[in-house]
């Protein structure tokens, strides 16, 4: 067999025994190096940021961050092979561009097969669109109850209730929550589809507002509408934004 560069790999599973069987399979395979073993999603995000593995062997149901949330945060930087006992996530797994989907229990051949697919994928150097990952990491039709923002190796979990407003900033959006600002590579249109539309309203080209934070809407000196939040901050409201706001409040 031709010599290959070792595949750098991280195991992510909250069950010790599940990690152990993967480790055992992998140690008997050539050109594999296990760079990290993670017992939860936070550790997985940290491992990707710090160690840059080529591939994650990723469980779906885990504490804190599930497998899909891990993909939403780091899916562009690493190839993913899901390992799970649940077959019902398979469709979503391929929508977020997972390379393969292994159903537990599986054998070493099946794993080797998945890893050769990973090598093929890496050889093609296909970059993945972040938007597709974020949009499909959630079950369809279910508004997010929290927003995940990655800051290097750290993950911030912002409950939707705690968001004051979201502001567009070039290729990013800034989530404003409890006096802090969290940047995420996303468009405001994606934010609108992700959050509960009954509570979050696009009041302006650059702003999505949490209705629970709205104190009043008034006209400024130049006859422009301005929303004042319970936090005291003031956001511009466009003509169409005002129509959407009125419609949402009447509901």
């Amino acid at each position: 067999m031709a010599h290959q560069t070792p595949l750098r790999l991280a195991i992510v599973d909250d069950e010790e025994l599940a990690r152990r069987v993967l480790r055992e399979f992998l140690t008997s395979m050539p050109d594999i190096s296990i760079v990290a073993e993670c017992a939860n999603g936070f550790e997985a995000v940290k491992a990707v940021a710090d160690l840059h593995p080529d591939v994650l062997l990723l469980d779906v149901q885990m504490p804190k961050l599930n497998g899909f949330e891990v993909i939403e945060l780091v899916g562009r930087d690493v190839a993913v092979v899901f390992t799970t006992a649940h077959d019902e996530y398979a469709l979503r797994a391929f929508e977020v561009h997972a390379v393969d989907y292994l159903l537990k229990p599986f054998n070493a051949e099946r794993l080797a097969n998945a890893l050769s697919r990973v090598r093929e994928r890496l050889a093609r150097h296909e970059p993945l669109p972040a938007a597709a990952l974020a949009a499909t990491a959630r079950p369809p039709g279910v508004p997010s109850t929290r927003v995940l923002v990655r800051d290097g190796a750290r993950v911030h979990v912002i409950p939707a209730d705690a968001i004051d407003y979201v502001q567009a900033q070039d290729d990013y959006v800034a989530y404003h929550s409890e006096g802090k600002e969290y940047l995420k590579e996303q468009t405001l249109a994606e934010v609108e589809t992700m959050l509960d539309p009954a509570r979050f309203v696009r009041v302006h080209r650059s702003y999505v507002l949490n209705l629970d934070r709205l104190a009043r809407v008034e006209l400024d000196k130049r006859e422009n509408r301005v929303a004042t939040l319970t936090t005291g901050e003031r956001l511009p409201v466009s003509r169409s934004g005002h129509a959407r706001l009125t419609a949402a409040l009447e509901r």
Binding site: E15, R20, Q61, A85, L103, P105
Partner: protein, 351 residues
Amino acid sequence: MHPLLARLDYAAAYVGAWLVAGMLLCTSLARQGVAWADALVFVVPTFAMYGFVCLSAWYVSRAMPLTTRRAAAVATASGAAALSGGVIWTIIAELWMALLDTTPGLQGAAAVGRVQVPFLFSVAVILYLLVLSIHYVALAYEAARAAEHQQFELQVLTRDAELRALRAQLNPHFLYNSLNSISALTTVDPEGARRMCVLLGDFLRKTLKVSTLDSITIADELALVDAFIGIEQVRFGSRLTVERQIDESALACRVPPLLLQPLLENAVAHGIGGLIDGGSIVFTVVKRDGRVLLRIDNPRDPDVPPRRHGGVGLENVRRRVQTAFPDRARVEAAAEAGRFRVELNLPCIEE
């Protein structure tokens, strides 16, 4: 309608049998010195008609089944039916002879008939009885077949119910994850793998055994809970611990089988499974004033909003409790910061 008329092959066999009977009759007449041709012309058409008359035996056999009627009544009815059959044959024969009399060249056959009517009347009566007894035999055979079929169907239904109960109670992912644990243990800890196989076999056997029962004692239900927890503890290791507070006097109360199973599954999957360091499920059984209280209290990740209505498992438990103790039981579920608690308040019914 008569089943013979519904199936062409049966009808053909029946007509064939009558032809054979007719030929035998002709042979016996020929032995007595009657010309073959005359015997044929007289016997075959009248007995062919009579074959259809004898199909009425089907109605007789249905109306007077051997199993429900007294033997004397059946014998009387059979005799009366056979005599009526004979009379009908005689009428057919008379009509046929009248027709033959008017046909040139066939008067000889009519003459033969006149001589043979008393003999052929008794033959007709005996044939009717024969056909009737064949109907009774067929009926008995059919009944036996139906009973066998019913028995078989019952077996299938029972097995089906068992499997459905098992499927409803047993989360397949629990099985897959357990198998994955065994797969991991085989090389590094063969003894542990074997222990896990025994635990799993034990759990499955107990589950199957109780799944079709209406109720089991809390003691038996707790044995199932222990088997389940034992397996999950292999999977989760030190992340999963259980604290039990069991009131011994409650053990004899009866509950629907596998009632606690979905609640424990939830406690493990949505409670312990969501916590990095795991935690302890507190399981309490108390008996008080003729009622039994079952409480499952588990830690959960406070950052994850609780599921609406607590999910399918809890809903099933509510329904089963409501069916088993209409208006006499309460199921309460409460999510607080970091904990989830389900409490069943049931009447204690002992056998």
